[in-house]
C-alpha cells in the first residue's frame, strides 16, 4: 500500500514530522518498503490488516500512534436516504458468494481528464489516472478500501445486472485485453446478454467507460474473499480490487464509500437517478472479553488499567467493565478491524501502544524439562567433526536432482518424489541419493583448479513409501577425487577416523574383491566401475555402497579424473 503523504495530511492533523512517523510505523504497526517525498509504502505482503489498505484506515492508525486527530467524521445520513428513487434491476443467483450488492445509476456525466489534485493523489498511490469518471472509482477505493466499479450503462443490456457463477466453457475479455477461459467457480457480473465483469477482479472491455459515456451503473459489493482469491490465482490476475476483497470488506465502509462516490460524481455534474441496495447492510459488532491478568501475564509487564483503556480507545475500541468485576472488560471491536478476533489480538494492541521496545527482558523461569533423546543430532555433529578432522571438507547441496544429473543418471521417475510446482527443472525431483550432487561439486572444483578433492555431506534422501508420508533418510555421502587411479582405497583410512561411529560389518571384504557384487542391477552397472563396487553392511543388512563412478559417466560430467563415492544410511547406527 502506497500511502500518499499529502493525502494523509488531508485526513490527519499530524502532530509529528514525517521522519518521526516513518520511525514509529515499523515499531508500532507495520514494516515499510519504501519512503519517498511523496509516499510511504507499507509492506502488506501476507499482512492481515485490511484497514491498512485504505487511506482512512491508515489515517486512523497514524492518529492513534502519533496522538493526532483525524479530520474526517463518518457520515450519518447518506445521499440517497432523503430521495425517492427507482431501483436498478439486479438479480443475484448466489447469495453466499455475494453477500451485499449495490448499484447506483448516475446520469449526466461528461468524460474528461481529471484535475491535477486527483492525478497527484493517484500517482502518489501508484495508480495511473485514466479519466475523471474512472478515477473516482480508484480514489474511492484508495480512500475507503472498498472496491467499486463503473459500467457504461449504455452497454449494459436492459440496464440489468446479474450476479452468477460462470458456466463451463465461457470466455471473457478483461480490461487488460486478455481473453480468459472461465471455470464454473468464477463469479461473474453479467447482463441478460453477456458477461460484464469478473467479479471483484477485473471489468470487461465491452462495458468500459469511453469518451462517449454519460450514464454509469456504479457497483459496490462484498464478494466472498476465498472465491475471489481462487479466481485470482487461477488467472494469475492480482488487481488492487481483488487484493482488498481477499483481506475483507465491511458493510459500514461500503455505505460510506458509495455515498462519497455519488457525491464526487455530483460534483462532476452527475445526478443519481436510481439505486438498489441488496443484502443485510449491518455489520455485527464483535465483542471480546479482556482481562487485566491475561494482559500482564502475556506481555510480562504490569500495565495499568487506565493505560489499557486509553490505548484501546485510541485505536477505536469501546470498553465496558464487566458487571461485578473490576478488571475484566467487554471490548467492542471497531468495524474496520477485521483482524481482531480473540483476546490475544487485543493484548497485541495494548502491547504495541505500550511499545514492544520498552518491554523489559524476563529471564526464563520454571523447571527444566525432562531429558530428550539427543542421539541423532549428537551423532551427526560428531561424525561431521570426525570427518573434518580426517581432512575432509563438508559441503551442503540442494535436496534436488540437478537437471544434469537427472539426464546423465536417468533414475526411474517412479522411484523419486516429484515437485508439483517446481521453480525450474532444477527443483523438479527430490534426490534419492546424495552423491550425484557431490560429483557435480567435484567437477566444478576441478575446473576451478583444485586437484585433490575429499568432500562429504550428511543430508537427507527422499523416496516414496508404501503408505503415509514419503520416506526421508539421513545419508552420509563421501566423495574422493585425489588424482590417483584408485581413489577408493582412501575410504579405509577415512572410515577408520570415524571408527567409533561408523561400524560396518567386516563380512565379505576380501582384499581382492573382483566381481564380488555383481548381483547389482543394470543401472548400477552402467553408472559404476565394472569391478570397483561393493555393498556395505551393518548387522547383516545392506545400508549403502562404495564404488568408483564409471569414467564414461564422469566424462558426461566433464570430469577426466577418477572419482570414488561412498554412501550409507546413518540411522541404522542409532538403534
Amino acid at each position: 500500500m502506497k500511502v500518499s503523504i499529502a493525502w494523509l495530511k488531508e485526513l490527519v492533523d499530524l502532530k509529528v514530522s514525517i521522519e518521526e512517523l516513518t520511525r514509529l510505523l515499523p515499531l508500532r504497526t507495520i514494516g515499510l518498503k519504501e519512503v519517498t517525498d511523496d509516499f510511504i509504502e507499507l509492506d502488506m505482503k501476507g499482512y492481515n490488516r485490511a484497514d491498512l489498505l485504505s487511506m482512512r484506515g491508515v489515517a486512523r492508525e497514524v492518529s492513534a500512534i502519533t496522538d493526532s486527530e483525524v479530520k474526517f467524521t463518518p457520515e450519518s445520513q447518506f445521499v440517497w436516504e432523503e430521495k425517492k428513487l427507482p431501483k436498478v434491476k439486479v438479480e443475484i443467483e448466489d447469495n453466499k458468494l455475494c453477500q451485499v450488492y449495490c448499484v447506483a445509476k448516475i446520469e449526466g456525466l461528461k468524460v474528461k481528464s481529471s484535475s491535477k489534485e486527483w492525478v497527484k493523489k493517484l500517482i502518489d498511490s501508484g495508480i495511473r489516472s485514466i479519466d475523471n469518471v474512472t478515477d473516482v472509482t480508484n480514489l474511492i477505493m484508495l480512500e475507503y478500501g472498498q472496491t467499486i466499479h463503473a459500467f457504461d450503462a449504455a452497454k449494459v443490456a436492459d440496464e440489468t445486472m446479474i450476479v452468477r457463477l460462470a458456466k463451463g466453457g465461457e470466455e471473457f475479455v478483461t480490461l487488460d485485453g486478455k481473453s480468459r477461459k472461465l471455470t464454473k467457480e468464477d463469479l461473474l457480473i453479467t447482463d441478460p446478454k453477456g458477461i460484464l465483469s469478473l467479479s471483484g477482479i477485473m471489468g470487461g472491455k465491452n462495458s468500459e467507460i469511453t469518451g462517449n459515456t454519460n450514464t454509469i451503473l456504479l457497483e459496490v459489493a462484498i464478494f466472498d474473499p476465498v472465491s475471489i482469491r481462487k479466481s485470482s490465482q487461477r488467472f494469475s490476475l492480482y488487481s488492487e480490487a481483488s487484493k482488498r476483497i481477499q483481506h475483507g470488506l465491511t458493510k459500514a465502509n461500503l455505505m460510506q464509500a458509495l455515498s462519497a462516490a455519488i457525491k464526487m460524481y455530483e460534483q462532476l455534474g452527475g445526478k443519481l437517478t436510481a439505486i438498489t441496495l441488496t443484502g443485510n447492510l449491518e455489520d455485527i459488532p464483535k465483542k471480546i472479553k479482556l482481562t487485566q491478568e491475561k494482559i500482564n501475564s502475556l506481555i510480562g509487564v504490569d500495565i495499568s488499567p487506565d493505560q489499557v483503556k486509553s490505548s484501546l480507545k485510541k485505536f477505536g475500541f469501546e470498553m465496558s467493565l464487566q458487571e461485578g468485576q473490576s478488571q475484566t472488560w467487554e471490548v467492542t471491536v471497531p468495524y474496520w478491524r477485521l483482524d481482531i478476533a480473540i483476546e490475544e489480538d487485543l493484548i497485541e494492541e495494548v502491547a504495541r501502544m505500550y511499545g514492544y521496545e520498552k518491554i523489559p527482558a524476563n529471564e526464563l523461569k520454571g523447571e527444566l524439562p525432562e531429558k530428550v533423546d539427543q542421539t541423532l543430532p549428537n551423532f551427526i555433529y560428531d561424525l561431521k567433526k570426525a570427518l573434518a578432522d580426517a581432512g575432509l571438507t563438508e559441503v551442503q547441496t540442494y535436496s534436488f536432482y540437478s537437471s544434469k544429473s537427472f539426464s546423465i543418471l536417468q533414475p526411474p521417475p517412479s522411484t523419486l518424489i516429484k515437485v508439483a510446482n517446481p521453480i525450474s527443472s532444477e527443483t523438479e525431483y527430490l534426490r534419492n541419493n546424495v552423491w550425484p550432487n557431490l560429483v557435480e561439486v567435484v567437477g566444478r572444483n576441478l575446473r576451478n583448479g583444485f586437484k585433490d578433492i575429499a568432500i562429504f555431506e550428511i543430508g537427507k534422501a527422499y523416496t516414496p513409501a508404501e503408505n503415509g508420508l514419503p520416506a526421508e533418510q539421513y545419508r552420509l555421502s563421501l566423495v574422493i577425487c585425489n588424482g590417483t587411479e584408485n581413489p577408493i582405497s582412501e575410504f579405509s583410512v577415512i572410515l577408520s577416523a570415524a571408527k567409533n561411529l561408523i561400524k560396518l560389518d567386516p563380512s565379505a571384504s576380501p582384499q581382492d574383491d573382483k566381481g564380488a557384487d555383481d548381483t547389482r542391477g543394470e543401472p548400477e552397472k552402467r553408472i559404476f566401475h565394472p569391478t570397483r563396487f561393493k555393498n556395505l553392511e551393518y548387522k547383516g543388512k545392506v545400508i549403502g555402497a562404495l564404488a568408483e563412478v564409471h569414467p564414461r559417466i564422469l566424462n558426461e560430467y566433464r570430469i577426466e579424473k577418477r572419482v570414488a563415492i561412498l554412501e550409507i544410511s546413518i540411522e541404522p547406527f542409532m538403534s
Binding site: 515499531l27 508500532r28 507495520i30 501476507g46 492481515n48 490488516r49 481462487k230 481477499q246 506481555i299 510480562g300 509487564v301 480473540i342 490475544e344 493484548i347 497485541e348 514492544y356 524476563n362 526464563l364 520454571g366 524439562p369 530428550v372 561431521k384 578432522d389 551442503q396 540442494y398 521417475p413 518424489i417 516429484k418 515437485v419 508439483a420 550432487n437 566444478r444 583444485f450 585433490d452 575429499a454 568432500i455 543430508g459 537427507k460 516414496p464 508404501e466 508420508l469 514419503p470 526421508e472 577408493i488 582405497s489 579405509s492 583410512v493 572410515l495 577408520s496 571408527k499 561400524k503 560389518d505 567386516p506 571384504s509 581382492d512 574383491d513 564380488a516 565394472p530 561393493k534 577426466e560
Partner: protein, 357 residues
C-alpha cells in the same frame, strides 16, 4: 588452395588414426584449431583468391573443418571406450580389514586440512548456547509434510492471504501412497510444533534446526533452500519479556555485548502477539550506515507468542500455559558475521569458499 586444404585433411586424418592416447588428440586439435592452428590461420590467405576460387574453396574449407573436428571427437570416444574395457581387469582394493575400523599403513590417504561447513559451525554454536538454557534439539519433523501439520494446525488456513508469505513448493502425489491432505516441502521448521506439543507435556524447551524450502527464484539474496533455527518454549507464565530475554541473550553471545536487541510489532499468523527481532546494526552500532539503510538497526529474526489456536490444536491447556516461538535465519547471521554477499555460496560446494572456514 584446394590442394593445400586436401593435404591438411589427408595429413591430419592419418595423424588422428594413429593417435593412442587422449593427449595425442589434444595436440592434434591445437595444431588445427588453436590460436595459430593451421585451419585457424588459413582463411587469412583467402583474400588473395578470385571470386570463383573462393566459391569453391569456402565450402571445401568448412567441410574439412567439420570433418576433422568430428574425426577427433570420434577418435576420442574410441580411445575412451578402449580404456573402459581395461577397467574390467582392474581390481577393487579396499584394504578390506580397514572397514572394521583399523587403519592400514602405506595407504594413499593424503594429509589435508578438513573444514566444517560454516552453517554447521554456527548452528553448533547456537545449539550449545541455548542448551545452557535447558533447550534440547528436536528432529522429529520431516521435510515433506502435510499442509495441516505445516500450516493449518498453526492457524494459517488454506486460502487466506497469509499464505502469500509462504510461497510453497507442493509435492506431486499422483504416484505416491494415497494421501488425505496436500503434501509440501515445509516452508519453516514450525511443522515440528504440532508434533512437539503432542509428544511432550509442558514445560517444553525445544530447539529446531533444519532445512526448509520456498518457491523462490535464486539470486544473491534469495534461496529456495535454507536453514532455520527456531525455539519453542511452552510453560506457565511464558511472556513477551521472555522474547526480549532470548533475543538479548542470543545477540550478546553471537555479536557481542554492545549489540542490543529490540522487539518490534510484526505479523505472523502462527503467533499472537507477533514480533520482529531487531539488533543494533553490527556495522555502525546504531549510527546508521549503508547496510542498515541508515536506521541503525538490522532485522534479525521473527518471534511471538504461539497462537492459542495452535496451542489448542497441540492439546495444550491455554488456561494454564502459554508459549513462545523464536527464530532466526542461520544463513543471514553467518552472512552478517563473515561479510558474505551471496547466499547461494552456502550450497554451491565451492571449495574456495568452504575452505575459508
Amino acid at each position: 588452395m584446394e590442394e593445400k586444404i586436401n593435404k591438411i585433411q589427408a595429413d591430419y586424418l592419418s595423424k588422428i588414426s594413429q593417435a593412442k592416447i587422449l593427449e595425442d588428440l589434444d595436440k592434434i586439435f591445437l595444431a588445427l584449431f588453436g590460436k595459430s592452428g593451421e585451419l585457424t590461420l588459413l582463411p587469412r590467405e583467402f583474400s588473395k583468391l578470385t571470386k570463383e576460387e573462393l566459391h569453391k574453396v569456402g565450402p571445401l574449407f568448412n567441410k574439412t573443418k567439420l570433418e576433422l573436428d568430428k574425426e577427433i571427437r570420434d577418435k576420442r570416444n574410441e580411445i575412451r571406450e578402449d580404456s573402459y574395457k581395461k577397467l574390467e581387469s582392474e581390481t577393487l582394493i579396499l584394504q578390506g580389514v580397514a572397514l572394521q575400523g583399523i587403519a592400514l599403513e602405506n595407504t594413499q590417504a593424503q594429509k589435508r586440512t578438513g573444514h566444517l561447513h560454516p552453517l554447521t559451525q554456527f548452528e553448533k554454536k547456537i545449539a550449545d548456547l541455548f542448551c545452557k538454557l535447558g533447550f534440547q534439539q528436536y528432529d522429529g519433523a520431516p521435510h515433506i509434510d502435510t499442509d495441516y501439520n505445516t500450516y493449518e494446525a498453526l492457524n494459517i488456513p488454506k486460502d487466506s492471504p497469509a499464505r502469500d508469505l509462504q510461497d510453497t513448493l507442493y509435492i506431486d502425489t499422483k504416484n505416491l501412497a494415497p494421501q488425505k491432505d496436500k503434501l509440501l516441502l515445509r516452508g519453516h521448521t514450525s511443522n515440528s510444533e504440532i508434533r512437539i506439543m503432542k509428544e511432550f507435556k509442558p514445560p517444553i524447551r525445544m530447539m529446531l534446526i533444519g532445512r526448509c524450502f520456498r518457491h523462490e527464484n535464486l539470486d544473491a539474496r534469495h534461496e529456495h533452500t535454507f536453514d532455520q533455527f527456531e525455539i519453542v518454549y511452552i510453560d506457565k507464565g511464558v511472556n513477551m519479556g521472555n522474547l526480549q530475554y532470548l533475543s538479548e541473550y542470543f545477540l550478546k553471545e553471537v555479536f557481542g555485548t554492545e549489540i542490543r536487541a529490540r522487539l518490534r510489532t510484526k505479523y505472523y499468523p502462527q503467533v499472537e502477539p507477533g514480533a520482529g527481532i531487531d539488533g543494533l546494526c553490527i556495522f555502525c552500532k546504531g549510527k546508521g550506515c549503508r547496510v542498515c539503510g541508515n536506521v541503525g538497526w538490522l532485522e534479525l529474526g521473527g518471534a511471538g507468542m504461539i497462537h492459542p489456536v495452535a496451542l489448542l490444536n497441540g492439546g495444550i491447556d491455554t488456561s494454564k500455559y502459554s508459549g513462545l516461538a523464536w527464530g532466526i535465519s542461520p544463513e543471514r547471521m553467518v552472512m552478517l558475521i563473515e561479510g558474505i554477499e551471496d547466499i547461494r555460496l552456502f550450497r554451491s560446494g565451492d571449495l574456495k569458499f568452504l575452505q575459508k572456514y
